[in-house]
């Protein structure tokens, strides 16, 4: 296993914020309250896994799919969600994050003129490139939390599905 020579800054300033934001976003969109401790733990473990997965240099989408699978497992173990709820939460997070990430690619390359290739080759640019995306997602998380917005409130759906009222 050969790690990138800049692995530490990458873990600290790219993988860790990305995984933490992803976890918080997934939880909120699926109607679960954010527990900071859980989000940070998933973020740290997820970031370490991301470093390992990306060191293998698989195709971009393959590494993402592996990360999705790992995050589902982490959600199940750490947040004590069932597999279906964890999968839905991670899928929701992934869809929103994917949309924002791609939009970020186009906006940043369009505004700054820096190509993705150039950004990948320079550490500072690489770390700064997703910054607008992180800021936008953080704002989105704060708004969702403030207004209790959830795309699918799995917690509520579960409560209704308990069918306690039936004999």
């Amino acid at each position: 296993m050969v790690f990138d020579k800049n692995i530490l800054p990458l873990i600290l300033f790219q993988y860790l914020p990305e995984t933490t934001i992803f976890t918080a976003l997934s939880m909120l969109l699926a109607g679960y309250k954010i527990r900071l401790k859980q989000v940070v733990i998933i973020g740290i473990i997820g970031a370490l896994f991301a470093a390992v997965v990306k060191s293998q240099q698989p195709m971009p989408i393959v590494s993402t799919l592996i990360m999705v699978f790992i995050l589902i497992i982490l959600f199940v173990i750490i947040s004590k969600l069932d597999v279906i709820s964890a999968s839905i939460a991670v899928f929701l997070g992934f869809v929103v994050l994917g949309l924002v990430e791609v939009a970020n690619y186009f906006v940043v390359t369009g505004v700054t003129g820096i190509t993705v290739q150039q950004a990948m080759e320079d550490l500072t640019l690489r770390l700064l490139f997703p910054l607008p995306e992180y800021i936008l997602l953080t704002v989105l998380i704060l708004v969702c939390q403030k207004y209790n917005f959830a795309l699918i409130n799995l917690k509520e759906l579960k409560e209704l599905s308990r069918k306690d009222y039936e004999r």
Binding site: I84, V95, G98, S161, E166
Partner: protein, 289 residues
């Protein structure tokens, strides 16, 4: 969540997931970061990306709407349950009204024929019945009163002596009426089912509603005996002494609801005392009120 709801949600969400993967691949391809599997010309890639940008939010909205529809369906199911109980109550009241007319006719006939003693005796019996109904209605949870009224009617039909003692109006009990109904209805139905096969003279169920300084208590007592090995497993999900696919969920669900509301449920059983289920809910402290 084992019904179709999740399946219905997963389909558009899974599709959105696949499309986002395709979107990421297309945009990376556009930036020439990868050469395969997509190697389309730029205008086609652009058009595809724009299409995906439109389709994915549409799928997300669709997922949200499916969720909302499922939620409405569940709410309707719960309302159906309420309506079923209300219908039972209305039927019970109709029966009572019909009975009342009959009683009045009997009293009238007795008085007309000069049998005043018999008439007084008859009215005394009748007022006892009315007092029981009054006790039921004194509970501060109308849904519970309605349930008790309906169950009294059911007990009468099954020739079960159903005695209700109300020593507390349960004012201050913080539990959703739906959940309280579910607990009491399950325990009463189990008790009725247990005594149904007994001789009529010992076919009785007693419900006591009381409170102590710290707890609200509901106690349901019926004759019978449960062996210890069954008692140990009686609150387990899926465990039942009766045959049938849907059995063994009632008491497990009761325990889950009671515990969810911070209460406890206990089962005492002896050959002399019979079977006693006691449900206790802690009273909220002053600061919580």
């Amino acid at each position: 969540m084992k019904d179709r709801t999740i399946f219905n949600i997963i389909i558009p969400l899974g599709l959105a997931f696949l499309l986002v993967s395709l979107l990421v691949l297309s945009s990376l391809n556009l930036h020439n970061l990868i050469s395969s599997p997509l190697s389309l010309s730029e205008p086609v890639l652009f058009a595809m990306i724009i299409m995906l940008f439109i389709t994915i939010p549409v799928l997300l909205i669709l997922t949200k709407n499916i969720y909302l529809l499922s939620k409405q369906q569940k709410t309707l199911e719960i309302q159906d349950f309420y309506i079923e109980h209300l219908s039972e109550l209305v039927r019970a009241i109709r029966v009572q009204r019909h009975d009342f007319v009959n009683h009045m006719q009997v009293v009238c006939a007795l008085m007309k024929t000069g049998k005043f003693d018999k008439a007084i005796e008859y009215i005394a019996d009748l007022s006892h019945d009315i007092q029981i109904t009054g006790a039921m209605l004194s509970v501060d949870i109308p849904e519970l009163s309605a349930l008790l009224l309906a169950k009294t009617d059911l007990a009468r039909k099954k020739e079960i002596l159903f005695k209700i003692t109300v020593e507390s109006n349960l004012k201050g009990l913080e539990i959703k009426p739906l959940e309280l109904i579910m607990v009491v209805a399950n325990l009463l139905d189990n008790a009725f089912e247990a005594v149904e096969s007994l001789p009529v003279d010992i076919r009785s169920v007693v419900l006591k509603v009381a409170e102590t300084a710290e707890y609200y208590c509901l106690q349901i007592k019926n004759p019978g005996y449960i062996p210890e090995e069954i008692r140990m497993r009686i609150f387990e999900m899926g465990y039942s002494t009766k045959e049938g696919k849907e059995r063994g969920t009632g008491l497990a669900a009761v325990k889950s609801v009671v515990e969810k509301n911070g209460g406890t449920i206990t089962l005492q059983c002896s050959r002399d005392q019979g079977i006693i289920f006691t449900v206790s809910f802690p009273k909220p402290s002053n600061s919580e009120r």
